[in-house]
Amino acid sequence: MGNSLLSVENVTKRFGGIQAVGGVSLELGHQEIIGIIGPNGAGKTSFFNLLSGMFIPDTGKVTFDGKDITGTDPATRARMGVGRTFQVVRPFKGMSVAENVMVPLLVNDPGVSKAHRKAMELLGDLGIAQLADTPTEALTLAQRKRVEVARALATEPKLLLLDEVLAGLNSREVIDVLPFVTTVRDRGVSILMIEHIVSAVMEVSDRMMVLDHGKVLAVGDPQTVIKDPKVIEAYLGSDEEE
């Protein structure tokens, strides 16, 4: 796929004796959403860290937008258009929602008032303008997750890595947040999302990838993937010994 936005070739990462990511390859097209699922400890977040530059892979190559970014640092990648959220949301303390969003907006130095205007626009687009002046300490978890996404979006990413933005939300809230993801895609962003709520991921994903023990178990159409016996086994446990 020559015109894919992100191309990951056989990346690995070891920590001591543990192989966190063991040879994962993936192609992500423009405006595509890929859902990543897998049991706890499957290496999903480590995989994200390799994409966002928090970790540098031991082997393999990451190409983004036609450029090799394998060894670059997170800030550089973010500036190139790789945005991400964190599994444990950590909004900046002592700062309001708008200010949180202004942090990435200020990277290109548009001036504080312009950044504030842009932040308000973005919050409006995402339907949380009314929270702009709220200190982040006073937000509910669902609101925090939205702020986290807004913050990532403010880097104006071409690729957004969403790490469990739905985790910890109740079903009402999940239904609230999901359309968010498609809205973002419709703005021209490609998305990789790690999720545990499979039904939710399936709803928005174009394709799905399943990781287990750091390796790709299955990748493809969501309906097909979910019926793959290997996937069911990874999730629900095996009936028989392998």
Binding site: G94, M95, S96, A98, E99, D133, P135
Partner: protein, 422 residues
Amino acid sequence: MSPTERGFNRRSFLRYSGAGLLALAAAPALASCASRGTDATTLRLGAMYPVSGTNALLGEESWRGVQIATDLRNAGGGVAGKQIEMVFADVPDVNTAASEARRLVFNKNIKLGFGTYSSSLALAATEVFARTGNAYVELGAVSEAVTTRGYDKVFRLNPTAADMTGLHMDFIQNYLAGALGKPVKDLRVMMLHEDSSYGQSIVSLAKAAADKIGLQHFEAEPYSAKSTDLSSTVLRMKSQEPDIVLAVSYAADAVLLGRQIRDNNVKLGAFVGTGGGHSLASFQKALGDAADGVFDVDFTQIHVNRDFTPGIEDFISEYHKRWNAEPASGHSLSNFTGAQMLFDILETTGGNDDPEVFAAAARKYHREAGTSAAGWGYELDAQNQNQQGSMYVMQWSGSKLETVYPPEAAVRAPKLITPFGL
């Protein structure tokens, strides 16, 4: 209200004004204890000594001498009929010294200040007094810089670092060389000095003084007074095998140095301490018999030719009465003597502490050597430095630090004993 402006909302104004009010309340509270300075019945003088921080030990000892002088004088009717009142300031560091000098000058209306024990503190305090047109009398600091800055109302009554190094060399030339049986030019002399303003003031003059008497092997080496271990210094000393060690130490380091010389079995021809730590009674206490034979160049100590130091008995008995102890070092005595001279000068002005009047009187005042409790005389040179204050050489013998040189002040002749019990 956006948190952006948290610093500047209504509540923060409350905070600002609350704090402002506190400051407004605190500053006048400080300012309100203002006093009128010297008046018809009371002579108010500013006394500045470090009684906390690094210099607390000898600062306190110096201040004791002044307290005794003041009480004795007041009991005897004061100065020209006025009672003396000391306005005291603790000056642990130079910024505080400058700051407290301003308090004395501006808030307490002090025209005449004195102190200060340490040279860097003296420099800071005198700058303020001099620049505000007031007078300052130094009674303890030895750095030449105190009187060489051209201030016409800064006086010093005590002898200086130059007197110390001069006496070092004098003593080497006239006694030690002979006692050790080596010509001066062959003597190996090592000066160890702590690195405070005291030690550095002295060492800066030592090299020239050594050249003057033809001392060809002279080394100076600094160490930190705060060090808890002087092994390195002692080992370097051992490797250089000096005949004579001149040590300029503060308090704890003097003991440490002595003990480590003894422990490392460094045999020296003679060891000459220089004021500070080597004069302290606790130096002898800490070393015991090992202190025997250690020489010490310093201000006058109490075991001195009493004919040469009239008034010293009063001082000693008064000290005993107040603190139930022997004076810890000669610092109290020298400050006692300095304060007495200061009072005598003020007597001649009729208790007038106006800086101009005092300065004129101070320049006119005269006193022969051997007429004060410390044996000092009084005669100012062009830089307002007393020429008649002198240093003496003492030697430890048992628990007594006996004056041994020059002969007119001595209670006995010096004895060459290998120091530190070796």
